[in-house]
Amino acid sequence: MVENALPDDPSSNPESRPLATTPLDALHRELGARMVPFAGYAMPVQYSPGIIAEHLHCRSHAALFDVSHMGQATLQGTNAAAALERLVPGDIAGLKPGRQRYTLLTNEAGGILDDLMVARLAENRFLLVVNASRKATDLPHIEAALPAGVRLDPHEDRALLALQGPEAAAVLARLSAEAGALGFMGVLDTRLDGIPCIVSRSGYTGEDGFEISVPAEHAEALARRLLAEAEVKPAGLGARDSLRLEAGLPLYGNDIDELTSPVEAGLTWTLGKRRRMAWDFPGASAIRDQIENGPHRRRVGIRLDGRAPARAGTLIVAEDGTGAGTITSGGFSPSLNAPIAMGYVRRDLAEDGTALHLTVRGKPLPARVAPLPFVPHRYAR
């Protein structure tokens, strides 16, 4: 009965290729992590306290996540911002140095190739952070569109740590007052305990927190330094997933992909104002049509009446018995002590409170459309 006990990972293929490890691999094992294959990496899904305890610790104190599997790359050169704008609908030219923005790589059909963070480190230098499962696709895609004089350098030599939770800022301020005082989505090239780091005030949990890009050879020392603080405990990918689901944040490959548009996904806010005047990004005409005429379906939050969780792939049925859509992420919310899910439904069923049924093990479970996020964001102001 335990065959399905570990998270599905369609992108990894342990039969044919050895798993990569992050610079914190030895530390995870020392801390008693359960390691699982994820996007081609051996990653900690949980430590001994378990996903619920790690999740709740992040919501009340501070949690340290290893997200070194994600792809990091520097984009630099003359007019690098303009070069990147050829691939994303976000306002990159208007991003000030020391600021970061969430944006999307879109295709000509208006689908999403990936979601990513873009940090402007200097006028002509950006740090990009892309999904682990997409980096092999994204980096050649970006590189192919670059003009002479702009180049993309992947950072296989850097780790990425996420320090998340209401006590994260107080902890980080002990290592760098300046980093601890960053504003939301601010970025700083600085030193933490003497280690050169790029720190951003951002994350994927809905809590205040930081993501810290650090040279691989210093990653374990920095992680140990942070874990030595009383507020901080390690958390694995399991808690990261339940935290982001409560926060209503989409997961690439589940909630967004090449067949979903930013409009359907509720990510129209990522389209820069200037970009929506010029309509000069990949997929602009399809996306413009959806904005003007409304998409056929929308990503929504879903609460179930009972205790049974509904997982990704579950069919959603309208009250009248017609097909309504599909769950794309679903599980259990430790904060609400109840099952929660996200999925796409027909636009006539996307209003908050709309009654639906979810077909789980052949039985219809009553549910309703619920506002996202399930747990309010508590980002720094």
């Binding site: 009965m1 335990v2 065959e3 399905n4 006990a5 570990l6 998270p7 899904v45 949980q46 378990g50 996903i51 619920i52 999740h55 399991g238 997933d241 339940s242 205790r307 049974a308 969780p309 997982r311 599980g331 259990f332 430790p334 099952p339 093990r361």
Partner: protein, 128 residues
Amino acid sequence: MPKLNAETRYTSDHEWVTLDGGVVTVGITDHAQEALGDVVFVELPEPGRQVEAAEACAVVESVKAASDVYAPISGRISDVNQAIVDDPSLVNREAASGGWFFRMDGVKEAEFDALMDHAEYQAHLETL
């Protein structure tokens, strides 16, 4: 309350089974609860239901995943453990005792005897 002992049998699906007075009690092993992680939902069969060996008859879900629990042998569901429906974390805390899932009567002792004994189950775990 069941207690695992030398007579306890196991399945390759990580269920433990005890036999007492013609009634078997079924639960999941410590290995299974450990692999599942925090259990958040349990669905149990209707008492009175006739089940065949290897038939899926209960569901256990953790934060990350859903799994079926199978009838280890054929018989009739005679009792279910409402305590794990009310508090699913009991499956993690007391997998081998208070976290039992269901009982069956009308079973054949030979089917019970044919299940893995403790040593065979340990050897099975070694192969995973």
